[in-house]
């Protein structure tokens, strides 16, 4: 079925489709998938995610839309400390992502970082990222990736980024009528399994959304995809279906993930799933290599495969627009 299939990235041109017959361009959605790399832009418009590139056509497209009541940026997988051939300069590419954000025509209100801030959970790596991201002058909301909780069960991550969170770092907040939920699916992983949310977090989630009106747009963000992309490589979350069952009654749910270092999108009923570029290095398309490890690409191509995601929400419209743009 078209609605649930994964569509292969296409880097050329603006792709627009209307998934929900609501006037939102479906090709815009697919555009999200077209970049693998540093970030993505998403606009929430009345409940559905919309995506378009920030490149040439993109910029003008963005402007032609009514400025969103709420615009935010997602960045992911900075992997500070990584220094292998796939990208010997992750500082440089993260700085490029910051420049990209600062140059956006509609300045985002805040930033979501969907994990793998660091490569080895070292304090100096976190320090470096904090320092570089400071130049955005924006509030930043984090959820951990597995690389951020390596040696201490996430204690350092919580001290730095999770002061107001519950459990291993999950939390929610509201902005401009949109309910944001940050989830943690990189802790207590079981042998042979995928990402895990766990009983406590699921219970919290059920309770967290109980009081919300069904018309409230929901944005869920977490590191590992909350949809099964490629289980052989661990690209999915074992108990994500349980989490999504609590969100069924909402008109618009947007799920933003990282981890796989490439953009992908899927629409299933009221839920739009989206994965963001990394700002650090590229990983292969599912099953297109022997394993999911970092992929070396020609140096001149690297920044066209890294990026940021911009999300825009316009009240009264049905969709959030999600726009991926590369660092190139």
């Amino acid at each position: 079925m078209e609605k649930s299939r994964i569509i292969a990235p296409n880097v050329n041109g603006l792709i627009e489709h209307d998934h929900n017959n609501d006037g939102i361009d479906r090709r815009g959605f697919l555009k999200c998938m077209a970049w693998a790399g540093t970030g993505a832009i998403c606009a929430i418009q009345g409940g559905v995610l919309k995506s378009y590139a920030l490149g040439s056509q993109m910029g003008s497209k963005m402007k032609s839309h009514k400025a969103g009541e709420l615009t935010f940026v997602q960045i992911s997988d900075s992997h500070m400390g990584f220094n292998k051939p796939a990208n010997p300069d992750v500082i440089g590419t993260l700085k490029a992502a910051v420049e990209k954000i600062n140059a956006l025509p509609h300045q985002p209100e805040f930033i979501l970082h969907t994990g793998d801030i660091s490569h080895l959970s070292n304090p100096a790596e976190f320090d470096n990222v904090d320092q570089i991201l400071k130049a955005t002058n924006k509030e930043i909301f984090f959820v951990p990736g597995e690389h951020d909780v390596l040696n201490d069960d996430g204690k350092m991550f919580l001290e730095r980024y999770g002061k107001n969170s519950k459990g291993s770092g999950w939390y929610s907040f509201d902005k401009n009528g949109v309910h944001f939920i940050g989830l943690v699916n990189v802790m207590n992983l079981k042998a042979g399994g995928l990402g895990t949310l766990g009983h406590d977090q699921l219970e919290w989630l059920e309770d967290d959304v109980r009081h919300l009106k069904s018309s409230t747009p929901i944005v869920v963000f977490a590191h590992i995809p909350l949809w099964t992309i490629y289980p052989q490589w661990g690209w999915g979350t074992d108990d994500s279906a349980q989490a999504l069952s609590y969100l069924k009654r909402f008109a618009s749910v947007t799920v933003l993930n990282g981890h796989i270092h490439q953009t992908m999108q899927k629409v299933e009923g009221n839920v739009t799933f989206h994965t963001a570029f990394s700002t650090a290095f590229v990983q292969p398309a599912p099953g297109k290599a022997d394993g999911p490890g970092p992929m070396k690409v020609p140096a001149e191509q690297l920044r066209s495969l890294l990026g940021i995601t911009d999300v825009n929400y316009v009240q009264g419209r049905h969709a959030l627009a999600v726009v991926d743009s590369t660092l190139a």
């Binding site: 990584f82 292998k84 051939p85 796939a86 490569h119 080895l120 959970s121 597995e146 690389h147 390596l150 040696n151 990189v186 992983l189 079981k190 042998a191 042979g192 399994g193 995928l194 289980p231 052989q232 490589w233 661990g234 022997d290 394993g291 999911p292 490890g293 970092p294």
Partner: protein, 115 residues
């Protein structure tokens, strides 16, 4: 002489039997000590099942550009994050089967059989 006494009779048989057990599963990988080495490469453990004698020290070496964490399923042992070319060793003092996995990439699984 001491040597002849030591190598005669039942003890010799035992010694041979034990060394055969130790050496048998290691033939596949080259090198004298590779019998107790697990290569972590391309998000897999090689060999996935390693058989060793009691009191063997097994060493995992990470050959990936991504860190891995070696953890036994039952919590008996767990390494720190191993960056590229870093290794972790554990000595198995009791016979048994010890399943383990990478605690940050749990699809990676292997086991050590101690005889």
């Amino acid at each position: 002489m001491k040597r002849t006494i030591l190598f005669s009779g039942v003890p010799v048989m035992l010694l041979l039997a034990v060394s055969a057990l130790v050496l048998q599963p290691t033939r596949a990988t080259a090198g004298e000590n590779s019998s107790t080495e697990v290569r972590v490469d391309n998000f897999t453990f090689g060999p996935e099942t390693l058989t060793v004698a009691v009191n063997s020290t097994v060493t995992w070496v990470n050959k990936d550009d991504i860190p891995h964490v070696i953890a036994s399923n039952d919590g008996l042992f767990k390494s720190k994050a191993l960056d590229t070319d870093q290794s972790f060793s554990y000595t198995f003092t009791k016979p048994g089967t010890y399943p383990y996995y990478c605690s940050i990439h749990p699809k990676m699984v292997g086991k050590i059989v101690v005889q």
